[in-house]
C-alpha cells in the first residue's frame, strides 16, 4: 500500500501536481526533431553526437534532477528543454506505459517495477557495452542488473542508486548501542515508540528475517502472520509516506523502525536529528533505483545521453551529496570524500556483501500471500 514514492520529498510530491501539466505538454511537443528515430540499443557510441532537443524525465530524486539538468544541458548543447516530473508512486508512470507510452523518455524505476515493465515489453534494451554509466558500476550492481534486469543477453536497466529496503533506523540518544537484530521491533519495552512500514513486501520480509526464513522465498507464512500480529500493537502507526515517517523520527515520536537509508541520511545530516541505521545480524535487504528508457520514448537519443551523463561518477556522487542515496560504484568511499565530509561518506559503509540480501522480485504466489497476511494484520 505504498502510497508515496520512496524518495520524493514532500515538496516534490506537491510539485508533481504542477509538473504533470509540464509533462503532458512535453508529451504533446516531444519527438518533433528532424532526426532519424533510432532505438537506444542501436546507438553505437557515446557521447551521442546527434540527439533530440528535449527530454522528458520521470525521476523522484528531485533535488538531484535539478542539479543534473543544468549540468546536462551544459554538456549537451542543443538540449533546449528538460521536462522533469516527480511521481508519487510507480503506478503513475506504469499506467502510462500500459496505455502506450509516447511522452516519457526516461524513468527512475524501482526494482520490482523494472521487472514488471520488462516482462510486458514496456522497456527498451540499453547499449550498456558502450556506456561509461555501466562501466563505473560496482561488480555487485552489474551482476545483479545482468541477472534481474537482463533478458536474452540484453540489459534493460542501469542501477542509479543502491537502497536499503528498508533501513533499520534508530534514535542514537535512546539506544546506547545500535540494535543488532530486527527483533528490536518485537521488544515490548519499546511499545508505542516504534512504527512499521505499511507495505506488505517490506513488513513481511522483515518478519521473515526475524523468524529465520528466506524473505524472498519463505516456507512458513503462518509464522510470518503470527509474529506480525504480535508486533501490531507495539506500533504508533503503519507509515505509508516517507516524508512523514522521517519527520516522526526527527520529532522523536518513534525511536526505532524501518525507513530508507536516504531518509535516514537526510534526517541525520540535513536536520541534525539523532538517528542512524543499524546493521541487523539477520541481514540487510537492498534494492536498486534504476535508469530505464520506456518503449515509445519520443526522444530516445537524448534519453540515452541523460543516462550516460547522469551515470558517470561525478553525477552519481552528487546524488549522495544531495539526497544521501548511495551510488553503486567502485571505490565508493574515495569518490564520496571528494564531495562530502568523511563522516557523511562513512554513512555508505553498509555495503558489505556478507550482510546484504537482494530484494528479489516475488513470484505471484508469494506476492499474494504477503498481501493477504498484511491485510489481515492491518485489519486487526
Amino acid at each position: 500500500m505504498a502510497y508515496d514514492g520512496n524518495h520524493a520529498s514532500r515538496r516534490s510530491v506537491l510539485g508533481a501536481v504542477g509538473g504533470a501539466g509540464a509533462a503532458a505538454l512535453a508529451g504533446c511537443l516531444g519527438g518533433g526533431d528532424d532526426i532519424e528515430y533510432v532505438r537506444p540499443i542501436e546507438i553505437e557510441s557515446f557521447p551521442v553526437e546527434e540527439y533530440e532537443s528535449e527530454v522528458n524525465v520521470w525521476n523522484w530524486y528531485t533535488d538531484w534532477v535539478d542539479w543534473h539538468t543544468d549540468e546536462f544541458q551544459e554538456s549537451y548543447e542543443g538540449i533546449d528543454r528538460v521536462y522533469s516530473q516527480a511521481y508519487s508512486g510507480p503506478s503513475e508512470w506504469y499506467s502510462r506505459l500500459e496505455a502506450g507510452n509516447d511522452e516519457i523518455d526516461n524513468i527512475c524505476a524501482t526494482n520490482e517495477w523494472v521487472v514488471r515493465a520488462m516482462d510486458n515489453d514496456y522497456l527498451e534494451p540499453l547499449p550498456v557495452e558502450q556506456m561509461e554509466a555501466w562501466d563505473v558500476l560496482d561488480p555487485l550492481a552489474r551482476e545483479d542488473a545482468e541477472e534481474y534486469y537482463g533478458r536474452d543477453g540484453e540489459v534493460y536497466a542501469i542501477p542509479e542508486s543502491i537502497v536499503m529496503q528498508p533501513s533499520l533506523t534508530y534514535n542514537t540518544e535512546y539506544f546506547s548501542s545500535p540494535p543488532d537484530s530486527w527483533g528490536v521491533l518485537w521488544d515490548e519495552d519499546l511499545a508505542g515508540m516504534m512504527f512499521m512500514e505499511d507495505w506488505p513486501e517490506v513488513s513481511c520480509r522483515i518478519a521473515a528475517l526475524y523468524t529465520g526464513q528466506d524473505p524472498n522465498d519463505p516456507d512458513d507464512f503462518e509464522e510470518i502472520e503470527e509474529v506480525l500480529m504480535q508486533q501490531r500493537d507495539l506500533n504508533v502507526t503503519y507509515w505509508n509516506e516517507f516524508s512523514s515517517a522521517m519527520e516522526m523520527f526527527i520529532d522523536e515520536e518513534v525511536v526505532v523502525g524501518p525507513l530508507r537509508d536516504g531518509r535516514t541520511w537526510m534526517a541525520q545530516f540535513l536536520n541534525d536529528a539523532p538517528i542512524d541505521y543499524a546493521v541487523p545480524e539477520e541481514g540487510m535487504m537492498y534494492t536498486y533505483d534504476n535508469f530505464v528508457i520506456p518503449t515509445g520514448a519520443p526522444n530516445p537519443r537524448a534519453s540515452a545521453a541523460w543516462i550516460e551523463h547522469g551515470g558517470q561518477i561525478p553525477s552519481r556522487v552528487q546524488l549522495f551529496a544531495e539526497m544521501g542515496y548511495v551510488p553503486p560504484i567502485e571505490n565508493l568511499e574515495d569518490e564520496l570524500t571528494e564531495v562530502v565530509s568523511e563522516e557523511e561518506a562513512a554513512f555508505a559503509d553498509w555495503l558489505d556483501p556478507d550482510e546484504l540480501i537482494f530484494v528479489e522480485p516475488l513470484d505471484e504466489e508469494t506476492l499474494d500471500r504477503y498481501d493477504e497476511i498484511w491485510t489481515t494484520v492491518v485489519a486487526g
Binding site: Y238, S244, E253, A379
Partner: protein, 313 residues
C-alpha cells in the same frame, strides 16, 4: 493587409448570407426529423457516457469474474473470497462505521453552519466563499496541513496548552479521531452547499405560521424546517457518504494501525498486489453499495435531489 473594396464588402456579405441559409436549412432539416434531432442531442452525450463510464464499468465487472488477467478462466472465487472471508467483512464493517460517523458529524456541523448562514447572517456571500475556499486547495496539501495541526507539538497541542485544556498533549495523529476529523473536514463544504440551498429555498412564512400557531423554536425546527429541507439533507448525506466509503488517501495519511478501509484494500490490489480481478470484485461491491445508497435515498424521498430537481418544485 489589403484595403477592403466595395466588391470585397459585398462578397463578405454574400458569404454571411449563404452561411445563414445553410444554417437555416440544417435547422429546418432537424425540425422535420425528430429522430435525427434526438440522435444529435442525446446520442453524443450518451456515446461519451457509454465510452468513458459504462464500458470501463463493464470491463471492471467482467474482470472481477476472472482468476487472473484475461485471458484467464472464469470464476466466482473473487466474490466468494470477499463474502466468506471474515477479514474483508470486518474491513467493510469498519468502513461502514466510519462512513456513518463521518456523515453524521458532517450533517450536524454542515446543517448548523448552513442554518446560521441562511437565517442569522448578512454576510452570506463571504461565508459561502469561506466554505468553498478549501476546495480551491489541492486535496493532498490539505492533508499535509492537517498532519501539521494534528501532530505532536502541532497547532492542536499548542492550543490545548495555551487554553489550559491539557498540560502535555501528544497530538491526535494516527488515531481514529484524526481520520474522522480529516474526512469531516474534507467533505463538510460538499454537504453545506445543498443544506444551504434547501434552507434558502424554503418559504419563511411557514416558520412564521408555526410560531403563530404556538410552536416553540425547537418544535418549529423539527416539524417545519427539517421536514421542508429533507431533500437537501439527504442530498448532502449522499454526497458525503459515497466518497467517504471509498476513501483511501485520508485514512492512509492520518490513520494508525486500526484504520484500514475498503478503499485502501482496493488501491493495494491494483498498485501493489497486482491482483486486479480481486480488486475489481471489491470495487464492484463498493459500487453496489453506492447504487444501494441512491435507491434508499430515492425511497426515503430524495428523488428530487437524485434527479436534480429543485426543492421548491
Amino acid at each position: 493587409m489589403s484595403t477592403p473594396t466595395p466588391d470585397s464588402g459585398s462578397t463578405a456579405g454574400g458569404v454571411r448570407q449563404r452561411s445563414r441559409q445553410y444554417l437555416r436549412q440544417i435547422l429546418d432539416a432537424f425540425r422535420d426529423r425528430p429522430r435525427a434531432r434526438l440522435l444529435v442531442l442525446v446520442g453524443i452525450p450518451a456515446f461519451v457516457l457509454l465510452l468513458f463510464f459504462i464500458l470501463p464499468l463493464a470491463y471492471m465487472v467482467w474482470l472481477s469474474f476472472h482468476d487472473g488477467m484475461p485471458p484467464a478462466s472464469l470464476t466466482l472465487e473473487n466474490y466468494l473470497n470477499v463474502v466468506t472471508t471474515d477479514l474483508y467483512l470486518r474491513v467493510v464493517w469498519r468502513t461502514t462505521v466510519l462512513t456513518v460517523q463521518t456523515t453524521a458529524l458532517v450533517v450536524i456541523l454542515g446543517y448548523t453552519l448552513a442554518y446560521s448562514m441562511a437565517r442569522f447572517s448578512k454576510r452570506t456571500t463571504l461565508l459561502l466563499l469561506l466554505v468553498i475556499l478549501p476546495f480551491w486547495t489541492n486535496y493532498i496539501v490539505r492533508m499535509y496541513a492537517l498532519i501539521n495541526i494534528f501532530s505532536r507539538d502541532g497547532l492542536l497541542d499548542w492550543m490545548q496548552i495555551v487554553t489550559g485544556l491539557a498540560q502535555d498533549p501528544s497530538g491526535i495523529m494516527y488515531t481514529h479521531t484524526a481520520v474522522l476529523l480529516g474526512l469531516t473536514y474534507v467533505w463538510l463544504p460538499l454537504a453545506t452547499l445543498p443544506f444551504y440551498a434547501s434552507l434558502t429555498n424554503m418559504d419563511d412564512n411557514l416558520i412564521e405560521a408555526a410560531k403563530d400557531l404556538g410552536a416553540g423554536p425547537i418544535e418549529t425546527f423539527f416539524t417545519v424546517t427539517l421536514p421542508m429541507t429533507k431533500n437537501g439533507v439527504i442530498g448532502g448525506i449522499i454526497l458525503v457518504a459515497i466518497p467517504t466509503f471509498g476513501a483511501f488517501v485520508t485514512p492512509t495519511l492520518l490513520g494508525g494501525t486500526d484504520q484500514l478501509m475498503i478503499g485502501m484494500v482496493i488501491e493495494n490490489q491494483f498498485t501493489e498486489a497486482f491482483n486486479w480481478p480481486f480488486g475489481s470484485a471489491l470495487s464492484v461491491i463498493v459500487s453496489a453499495f453506492v447504487v444501494l445508497m441512491l435507491l434508499v435515498a430515492v425511497k426515503f424521498g430524495a428523488s428530487d435531489v437524485v434527479t436534480r430537481r429543485s426543492d421548491t418544485q
